[in-house]
Symmetry: C2
Subunit: 320 residues, 2 copies
């Protein structure tokens, strides 16, 4: 049977180990595994990669441990504006929403835009109204708020006042969730969802809803979902650049994703990470930060979940 694979990330802004209780880390890993298994159930039964990535992202959007959906970052105005996108590698169809405020699962709104509208990207209130008309669950904006994000916002506002904002960790600032999948029919798909960064200006849109920057999928090449300072990912057209390196320059997924994360994006002095899968079902999840919540199941069916650097080093050794 042709290979299947799922890869996910929960953002490259993972906290240092000591900043969260072991119970919280255990729950983070449990939610990553739940996300993987939701996608795997689709793929293993012959279902489409698009359904798998949506299912994986919905689990992370519903978890308070990731900056997307419930538990999303707060804007400077202390509310939430969410971005998401999804792309079908078989048709290159894609959908996205930005600066939405009332859709419980923005990734499903992105999919609705792709499948039920003539648009690819819908912004703001109009996207909320579109999702509501499409029958998706809507919530009050306050639904997305967690105590953890309130504390992070207070900490960032204090740093800004003290002039120590440059010392803020990636974890205080950014965060995103994403998934990539290969299904039995050889179709690739990618999806990404985020609350942006804590204390972000209202109206700011990052790379998550930008096809080519935060999300890209094309059959025969790769599916990619990114995490990190979105402005740089847009400037470097990061997700599509992985595909372009493979297509035009003959690079492998490993070479192309490593070039982006450790060379191109790192040259801008930013934290960066991505998860990607190629047409043969190889998953890669490189990052240049302290940690990146992530997980993958390749065709062997073995579940991998990790949050910090040491685990990825072990994984790299294992692969070598």
């Amino acid at each position: 049977m042709p290979p299947i694979a799922i890869g996910i990330h929960g953002g490259c802004g993972t906290l240092a180990r000591e900043l969260q209780s072991e119970a919280d880390w255990a729950e983070t890993r449990a939610h990553l595994e739940k996300s993987l298994r939701a996608a795997w159930a689709v793929l293993a039964s012959g279902g489409p990669a698009l359904d798998a990535v949506e299912a994986a992202v919905v689990v992370m959007e519903d978890s308070p441990h990731f900056n997307a959906g419930y538990g999303a970052a707060l804007t400077e105005a202390e509310d939430h504006e969410l971005d998401a996108s999804i792309m079908d590698g078989a048709t290159l169809a894609a959908g996205a929403v930005c600066a939405v405020r009332r859709i419980r699962n923005p990734v499903s709104a992105a999919r609705a835009v792709m499948e039920r509208s003539d648009c690819l990207l819908i912004a703001g209130d109009a996207a909320d109204r579109f999702a509501e008309r499409s029958g998706l669950a809507v919530v009050d904006n306050a639904y997305f708020t967690t105590e953890r994000r309130r504390q992070a916002l207070a900490s960032l506002k204090a740093r800004k006042q003290r002039g120590t904002i440059a010392l803020a960790s990636e974890a205080e600032k950014h965060g995103t969730v994403g998934a990539v999948a290969l299904d039995r029919n050889g179709n690739l798909a990618a999806a990404t969802s985020t609350g942006g960064f804590n204390n972000k200006p209202q109206g700011r849109v990052g790379d998550t809803p930008v096809i080519g920057a935060g999300t890209y999928a094309r059959n025969g090449l790769c599916a990619v979902s990114c995490t990190g300072q979105g402005e740089i990912f847009i400037r470097r057209v990061a997700a599509y650049d992985v595909a372009a390196r493979m297509h035009y320059a003959g690079q492998t997924l490993d070479q192309a994703t490593a070039a982006l994360v450790f060379d191109v994006l790192a040259s801008h002095k930013i934290g960066a990470g991505m998860v990607a899968v190629d047409a043969a079902g190889h998953v890669r999840a490189p990052f240049n930060t302290l940690g990146m919540a992530r997980g993958w199941i390749e065709n062997d069916g073995v579940v991998h979940v990790a949050t910090h650097q040491d685990a990825i080093k072990a994984a790299q050794l294992e692969r070598a």
Copy 2:
């Protein structure tokens, strides 16, 4: 002295000749020439490509003959939502706004986002407020409305009711303006601005504010500004794909732009066009529609302005 060059487009949705008076065509050409000369004045005096593309686009935004700024398309709600972006090929810095309603010159707002904010893309009301705080001219939304667009909207709404929407011309639907430039210091820049398409759903965002799709610039390679059905340009990461073909596959500007317009984008059965300049100052402006308002001045200083296919054929012969 190193070469300089400017290229502009006023959208690939140019009307058939017989649908507009000769006086209107003359004014269209005059405004294209004014746009080119505004940019050329910057470049010839050693000024930056960024200033040149902004100046060129501002002239077209202020003209009723193009779908950007004054004269922009009307949404289905009979008002205006504008998108714009700008990119500096020297630094890969970029700025963009989407779904803005009150900024007289959206391209200048995009530049302000690039230079005076930590964001790359700002959406909706927040972008209007940012532009106002940055000291840019704001106007009532009704400022952008022209009689021509009111008629086009009425015609499209009638077609939709009659079920003949598929027969609507590119000119009834789309339109965009854009500019690309090479300056004496070898710096490339690109900018694009649009009102989207007539009768567009509120909140719809096309490729114009999406770096990599509608706009891209990178020193040593090319600057690109696109026009056509934006959703397809986003799916094909069209502007960046020109650069990727040149960088990774060694294609010339001519080969890369032709591949996009006549092969990749045309395969989606859409009208498509772009203007692009390479690091040596060659300008190309391919399109696959009846016409594309366009103009260019290469290093020889000769001003070229054209609106329809016959002119481009002549120009191609001249270059051959």
